[in-house]
């Protein structure tokens, strides 16, 4: 009875404030020690949040724990004010959490109508029909109500899976790589469409993906996972430009690490000399400067000390591999309007706003505050 009331409350009152919080979640399997270990994460009401990470990092396990399909070994999960795992246990069928699975999981023996109506209980046939049709209309595929899933295209299946979850008014929606099996064009279209629908309904959404572009383009915030641990949580911009660990730096995009030397808050390196405002840095220490290809520019210069050794054409842009005087390699991304030939001598020009320093001994980010030391910029070490 209590659960029933609870369910009604969770599903039917759409104005309730709501957020998801996980505390110290740990989960191991027979074959997988620490699929998730000590994970703590809070997600705001109505937020579009992505869990980004390589396969096997535990992101799907977190999703399954949120849905109630796995029981965490340790830790607790709260949805709104209600504890659903840890202190209490609420089974998946009573959580009011919707999921779109990677393979969509449409019931192959039921029509699209029956699939969407599957979870609708306690309402009249007429009401059922209205609600199902309303959903199909929303996702723009009203004609297919009487088809079976195998008669549908991948994009249509994905839309039905979304409709089937939304029809129950979930407060939390979980998306398990739902775009990964679609063609590139369709993927872009469906991503934005899905985001729009979920945002309109103010549904807290958690997307699991290994595609950083997808996570960045859709999310308000992104959590990067590796080996069952959260490496960093932040806005897409923060994740890309201010990575806290080397793993994040490498996982979300191409990054070069250049060795430098720090003295009196000035870092000298092959790519220039920069001032650093952070006074906590140790003096006389070797460091690694992380820079992304989009912040590395160059100009063709017969007297330049760097040379193009390789160019990779990506369509709208080209990635050049540049060899610097010491033999070190750095990458530069430029629009493909004018393509430079391999072997061209160039002069490297770095925009330092996004340079990040990591201790050379490994470990996490040290600082990010930089500006070019104009006085000494002609000197290189």
């Amino acid at each position: 009875m209590v659960l029933r009331l609870l369910k009604e409350k969770m599903r039917i009152t759409p104005t309730e404030t709501f957020h998801v919080s996980m505390k110290n979640i740990t989960k191991s399997y027979d074959q997988y020690i620490d699929a998730v270990s000590g994970l703590t994460l809070e997600i705001r009401r109505g937020e579009f949040f992505s869990l980004l990470g390589p396969s096997g990092c535990g992101k799907t396990t977190i999703l399954r724990i949120l849905a109630g399909l796995e029981v965490p070994d340790k830790g607790s999960v709260k949805i709104g004010d209600i504890s659903v795992a840890g202190e209490a246990w609420i089974p998946p069928e009573k959580r009011g959490v919707g999921i779109v699975f990677q393979d969509y999981a449409l019931f192959p023996h039921m029509t699209i109508f029956e699939n969407i109506a599957f979870g609708l209980k306690g309402c009249s046939k007429k009401e059922q029909k209205e609600r199902v049709m309303e959903q199909l209309e929303m996702v723009g595929i009203i004609r297919i109500a009487n088809c079976y899933p195998h008669e549908l295209s991948g994009g249509q299946q994905q839309r039905v899976a979304l409709a089937r979850a939304i029809v129950l008014f979930p407060k939390v929606m979980l998306l398990d790589e739902p775009f990964s099996s679609l063609d590139a064009d369709l993927r872009l279209e469906l991503r934005q469409e899905t985001r729009k629908i979920l945002k309109e309904k103010n549904i807290t959404t958690i997307l699991v993906t290994h595609d950083q572009e997808e996570a960045f383009s859709l999310s308000d915030r992104v959590g990067v996972l590796d080996k069952g641990k959260l490496e960093q949580v932040g806005t897409p911009d923060e994740i890309y430009h201010k990575p806290e660990t080397r793993f994040v730096a490498n996982f979300v995009g191409r990054a070069d690490f250049v060795r430098g030397f720090i003295q009196d808050n000035v870092v000298s390196s092959d790519i220039g000399i920069f001032k650093c405002n952070d006074h906590n840095l140790y003096n006389k220490e070797e460091v690694d400067l992380m820079i992304r290809p989009d912040d590395v520019d160059f100009t063709v210069n017969a007297n330049g000390d760097a040379v193009i050794t390789e160019s990779q054409f990506l369509g709208a842009s080209v990635i050049y591999t540049l060899r610097m005087p010491g033999g070190k390699i750095i990458h530069s991304m430029k629009p493909s309007t004018q393509i430079k030939a391999v072997g061209t001598k160039v002069r490297i020009d770095v925009d330092p706003v996004h340079i990040i320093i990591f201790p050379s001994t490994g470990g996490n980010r040290s600082t990010i505050c930089f500006e070019e030391d104009k006085k000494n910029s002609h000197k290189r070490c």
Partner: protein, 531 residues
């Protein structure tokens, strides 16, 4: 912190496991009580005969099935000739005939005054006696004819999965055709051949009807006599223990070879064998071989069964209670297969979806019955009821329980493989859409695995129909099934009367054959399509 409903499946699975493994436990329990004096008496009265008999039979059937199975598989996989498509599947038809039906058919054909005797006399006169079917070779040939299809099927699969590059390599190295056959093909596919032979030998160990009709004492027959004629449960369980251990050993061998199935073939390019087109002379030769084997193993005996059935119908030789026998057979086989499917669901589900140590153990203990010959199960169940549930004695429940013990491994396997084909996310989706465990199983899983359940049920139905020894020992008084009638009429030389029941069993036996052919042809269906 798990949900209550999932937990309910575990006690259910364990309950079934206990029911199913009780007979073995009771046999072990009584065999332990057998003292040295009894072992000596058993040796002097029974073992001294049945031990060499059984070993000889195993060896000869192993040898004959190997010859028949490998030759046919070789011809089918390596040569292309007219009619090959038909022979490829017709060659397994003898699998539809239970050993005791074939034994009865030939006993009748070769009976004094029968067609074979008359022909023999016309040809040889009195110079040469016709070889007797009631002999070591008679039994060996009958059992080889019904069991060689196992060797054929597994060898065929092995030969088809062989990479032709090895044969080509040997050819380039100048190795002759015959040496290539042995040193490349046979040696590379030996795991399949060995698994097939082990399977055939297991069937020989479990066979009761053939050896009983042909009066060739082996373990099963001795257990049956010890139990029914002498009512000596201790002696019977002592013999049963030896039998169980031997079959178990064969089962392990079969699993071992099947596990090895293929030598590590490097994962490079897979070159399939292109069957060699042959001349018309050779086509004739191959066709003759196939015709001979199928003719002797299937067409001739079945034709005679048909003829005798007609004769019986014409001269009133059909048992007036035939409809009753059919009804009894369908009733027990139907109920037995239904129970075997229903009772297999919990263990199959747990093993497929949550394969932890406990679930695996429950699953494997539930499949023990597969290695138990019918008479052993019967003895085990009789011991069990005589000790704990005496009021079950002579009731139908005991017979149905025997069918479940013997055949639940088949349904377990059929259900498990069907469940594994249903994507797990479908059940997860059901849960997150508000359906509890039971509703999810009922509305999503069961409809999707229905084809697998049905196949399992049909195979078990036919197996129950063919089952003889346990039915004979456990049936209620005067409760006759078709199999029982064949055996009893044949034992009393009422040849014509046994024909129609035997024919009905063979016809039913064709259904699983059709399933095997269908499945091998298409490969297992991936996913379930909705009509």
């Amino acid at each position: 912190m798990k949900t209550r409903s999932t937990c309910l499946l575990i006690p259910m699975a364990i309950g079934v496991m206990i029911c199913v493994s009780t007979p073995v436990i009771f046999i072990l329990y009584s065999a332990v009580k057998v003292d040295v004096a009894l072992w000596i008496r058993l040796y002097e009265t029974r073992l001294n005969v049945i031990l060499p008999n059984t070993v000889m039979l195993l060896l000869s059937v192993g040898f004959l099935t190997a010859i028949l199975g490998v030759t046919t598989a070789w011809i089918i996989t390596r040569y292309d000739f007219m009619g090959k498509k038909i022979w490829e599947w017709a060659i397994i038809l003898p699998l539809a005939v239970p050993g005791y039906v074939l034994a009865y058919a030939y006993a009748s054909i070769m009976a004094p005054g029968g067609i074979a005797q008359t022909t023999w006399h016309n040809v040889f006169g009195d110079m040469l006696d016709m070889p007797s079917l009631y002999s070591f070779w008679g039994v060996s040939i009958i059992l080889s004819l019904v069991n060689y299809p196992y060797v054929y099927l597994l060898t065929r699969a092995s030969l088809l999965s062989l990479n032709a590059v090895y044969d080509d390599a040997a050819r380039v190295l100048g190795v002759s055709r015959w040496r290539r056959l042995w040193s490349v093909n046979i040696r590379l596919s030996y795991p399949g051949i060995a698994a097939g032979i082990s399977l055939a030998m297991m069937e020989v160990m479990a066979d009761f009807g053939t050896v009983a009709i042909l009066r060739y004492p082996t373990f099963t027959e001795a257990i049956y006599r010890q139990m029914t004629a002498r009512f000596d449960p201790l002696g019977a369980s002592a013999l049963a223990i030896i039998l169980v251990m031997t079959t178990f050993l064969l089962l392990i061998l079969e699993r071992y070879f099947r596990g090895k199935k293929r030598f590590e073939q490097f994962s490079g390019k897979f070159q399939i064998y292109k069957p060699e087109k042959v001349s018309s002379l050779r086509t004739l030769f191959f066709t003759a071989i196939m015709m001979l084997i199928i003719g002797v193993g299937f067409i001739a005996p079945v034709s005679f069964l048909i003829k005798w059935s007609f004769d019986a119908a014409l001269n009133g030789g059909i048992d007036s209670r035939l409809t009753e026998f059919i009804y009894n057979t369908v009733f027990v086989a139907g109920t037995g297969s239904f129970l075997a499917v229903i009772l297999a669901i919990p263990a199959a589900y747990l093993h497929a979806r949550k394969p932890n140590f406990i679930h695996r153990t429950v699953y494997y203990l539930s499949t023990l019955g597969y290695s138990l010959p019918g008479p052993v199960i019967a003895v085990g169940l009789l011991l069990t009821v005589s000790i704990i549930f005496p009021y079950l004695y002579g009731g139908l429940i005991l017979l149905l329980l025997a069918y479940v013990v013997r055949f639940i491994p088949i349904t377990l396997q059929a259900l498990e493989s069907s469940i594994l084909m249903v994507s797990r996310s479908l059940e997860d989706a059901g849960r997150t859409l508000g359906a509890g465990t039971w509703k999810t199983i009922r509305r999503i899983l069961l409809p999707l695995i229905r084809p697998g359940m049905l196949t399992g049920a049909i195979i078990v139905f036919v197996d129950c129909m063919k089952e003889l020894p346990a039915t004979l020992m456990l049936r209620p008084v005067a409760f006759d099934t078709l199999a029982v009638r064949v055996w009893m009429d044949a034992s009393e030389s009422l040849w014509e009367m046994a024909a129609l029941p035997a024919l009905l069993i063979v016809i039913a036996g064709l259904i699983p054959i059709a399933i095997i052919i269908n499945r091998t042809n298409r490969g297992m269906r991936d996913g379930i399509e909705v009509a």
